[in-house]
């Protein structure tokens, strides 16, 4: 831990020295995005070593490292740097979804589809009603609700509760990967968070359309169609990317990991103008590889493993760096209240309504832990509320983002504990080479030479 902390300080010192060369607003040699990537990668990996001793998950360490070096604390990363790295986020989301798809063998999951569906619905319903009630109450305490009728407050609570139900497939998959967890519970967690997030995105488009009408904003009748087109388009692109990847892996088979990353980069670049979601594209492609192609999804997981770690580390550090601490502190008590309500709703829903799914009690106790972490999609929906609904949108978005911060920080820690309790941690042994560090000192290695 001490060595990790010393190395972390050295990395920060180098970056601090370099950053002192230019004034913050100067850009004579670009924005310094390369510096930001190196700094985020090394700082987050070293933070992982430091927090390992504290039994905290690496994902939390990456997020904390991002907060530390981000604009609000040490200021080593500037907003311009973060903006330039948005493509990294898209690549990471695509990769995470691809790996999730490669993990999901639908044939194996088919007997459990009813269980997955009912557990998802029960968690979502519990979380939604708890959040709705909390948001409705908070609207009387915070300025954004001033002058609103009860119906209007209800609509605000409806839209926001819908957005705040979102889970975080990247965090869940990241922690399961870190814990090398494999088994029915792990598959259940991945299936639920992935499928439920798709449902949340769809339902959000509907609730926000209704809210537009009720709250007197500009109604956009084509909005729902737009969202459907976006989802269908993403699925179609994923259905094209999957066979391309399968063909490459099957016929050429060289530098597979690099090819996958190159494809994800192209998808990330195309995502904005084509309204294609890298998450859905990656997921569809992954599902195709694992379930329909002659190529095993696990081959993709193995081939991309070397590149996955740096991608995940930078992605989660970016999420941390984008947290605005000052905004969070302003709404911290209410954000905490919403986070607790959400957690209570999720647990209550799954424990009470989940009985109909046929899942045993232990499963029902563990499932909600995977629903606690929040990140990308929740942030995207909160940002959509901020930009769409005036004048209350920006004020509510601050509250929602504060709640996401709480879930970002606490969710992974709690979920990692649940993974340990599930008994599936350490059951994945399909990458034996990755267990070794060939350049480690001799005494640290089991074998004397390689």
């Amino acid at each position: 831990m001490i060595r990790g902390a010393v190395l972390l300080c050295l990395v920060l010192a180098v970056a601090l020295g370099a950053r002192s060369f230019l004034p913050d607003d100067a850009e004579i040699t670009g924005s310094g995005a390369t510096l930001a990537v190196g700094l985020m990668l090394l700082a987050s990996l070293q933070a992982g070593h430091v927090t390992e001793a504290l039994k905290l998950p690496h994902v939390t360490a990456y997020i904390l490292a991002g907060i530390l070096i981000g604009p609000d604390v040490l200021g080593l990363l500037t907003p311009a740097m973060l903006e330039d790295l948005s493509v990294v986020k898209s690549v990471a989301v695509g990769l995470i979804a691809l790996l999730a798809g490669c993990e999901l063998n639908l044939r194996a999951l088919a007997p459990r589809l009813k269980e997955i569906g009912l557990l998802s619905v029960s968690g979502l319903l519990g979380g939604f009603f708890a959040l709705f009630a909390a948001l409705f109450a908070v609207s009387y305490l915070l300025p954004f609700g001033d002058g609103m009728s009860p119906v209007e407050r209800g609509m605000v609570a409806l839209v926001c509760a819908n957005a705040m139900c979102a889970f975080s497939p990247p965090v869940v998959i990241g922690i399961l990967t870190e814990a090398r967890s494999k088994g029915p519970m792990s598959e259940l967690w991945i299936s639920i968070v992935v499928l439920a997030d798709i449902a949340i995105v769809l339902s959000f488009s509907m609730t926000s359309s209704v809210a537009h009408v009720v709250l007197g904003g500009s109604s956009e009748p084509g909005q729902l169609l737009g969202v459907l087109a976006h989802i269908l388009g993403s699925l179609v692109v994923g259905a094209v990317v999957g066979p391309i990847l399968a063909l490459y892996i099957d016929r050429i088979g060289e530098r597979v990991g690099l090819f996958v990353f190159a494809a994800l980069f192209v998808i990330a670049q195309a995502g904005v103008p084509l309204h294609v979601d890298p998450l859905l594209v990656g997921l569809t492609a992954g599902l195709f590889l694992e379930n329909m192609s002659p190529v095993s999804g696990h081959r993709v997981i193995e081939e991309t493993e070397a590149g996955s770690l740096p991608t995940f580390a930078v992605f989660f550090a970016l999420i941390g760096a984008e947290i605005h601490l000052a905004d969070f502190m302003a709404v911290a008590p209410f954000a905490l209240l919403l986070a607790v309500s959400r957690a209570g709703g999720l647990f209550g829903g799954v424990l009470a309504l989940g009985r109909v799914s046929g899942a045993d009690e232990r499963t029902r106790q563990l499932v909600p832990f995977g629903m606690l972490p929040q990140a990308g999609i929740a942030i995207a929906l909160a940002t959509a509320i901020k930009g769409t609904f005036q004048p209350w949108g920006p004020q509510v978005a601050t509250l929602l983002l504060g709640t996401i911060v709480v879930n970002e920080l606490i969710g992974p820690v709690v979920f990692r504990l649940a993974v340990g309790r599930s008994g599936e941690a350490g059951h994945r042994h399909d990458h034996p080479l990755a267990e070794h560090a060939p350049h480690a000192p001799v005494e640290a290695s089991a074998s004397p030479q390689r």
């Binding site: 510096l35 990668l41 670049q269 103008p273 740096p310 060939p438 480690a440 390689r450």
Partner: protein
Amino acid sequence: MASVDFVGLTLALTGAVALAFVATNARVRALEERLGLSVIASSGMPFLLLGALLAWGPVGLMNEGVLADLRPAFEFGLGWIGFLIGMRLDVRRLDEMPASFSGVVATTSVLPMAFTAIVCLPVLLWLGAAPNDGLIRNVAILSACAAASAPVLGAAASASRRMLKEVTGFDELVAICVLGAVTLLYRPDQALTLWSLPPSVWLLLMLGLGALLGILGYALIRAAHTEAEEFAKLVGVVALASGVAGYMALSVPVLCAIAGATLINLPMRDREGLLETLDSITRPLYLVFLVVVGATWNGLAWQGWVLAFAYAVARMAGTWLGCAWASRLDPVSLPVPRDLVAALAPQSPFAVVVIVAATTGWVGERAVASQWTVTAVVIGAVLLDIMVRPLRQRGTSSPDSPAVAV
């Protein structure tokens, strides 16, 4: 950026990536050799031309905005290649070299540099380059490019082959040194920055920073728990070194080469494995890098083609003389002069990295002549390959024939 730009960029990147992967396929490379296309392919010409096509007015897919978006990846690519070059400098291997080694390196790298400077300076003046507009800088960079010979590939089966491999590796380091010196002498306006230091202090700073990053990389990699973490840290160290260099207007490949050289010379097991890790993604990275270079390349200026011819002839003459001299210094360890020329005359792909690093790192208004130098090095590589082809066909020790290693 407009939507159409994004779509265009997507198509462009798809094309570049597809081409890069096709070109790195073993069967395609074997076909290139069989059809005699390796001369053009080894210079990366198809990728440069693709970049130029994508940036061409009516197509206009890789415009200024897109290139600015790609700058971080471009900087990282420069750093990765520089790091690899530095990591080839394992001083322990020098102990195995004959005493004549330093003399051979000096003659085979300094003479082509000197000839290039002597020929290209008056040619540039004749072409209309202004003496007070970066003339010396351009000549120095062209000389640096002339120093780098294409690495000799394959196993070091014989003593002469081993010697050639080391010589070509050191030639690239000479080029790195000249590039570093140029970057230190031509710093950005100090009024724009918060530091005001003389070039000598910048030199110390660059050496110290490079060494520090190498030591830091070593400590980080040693502390890695898994191979995946090791790779992640390697990427992180290269990105940090590239970013620090770019941010401080130092030469990215030079700083990364110093860091790489420091790292490889610290006590570490499985150095070859680490080099292989770097090498495994260098070629696709280099080929995509060439597409970006092609997009900024103005190959239509006739002055560039004239300079390319002068550059190729000067480099060939310098190499010939250097090889003849080197063969006298060590007639035992080296092949006969003609084979030595055939091995060392082809220009290293790293020369393109040098010229691009120098021109993109240019702070302030860039001299028109700097565009001509890019053409000179790019086209010069093809001309040199063509010039050396008859020598290779008549050569006696074909196993020593070089090939692209980047």
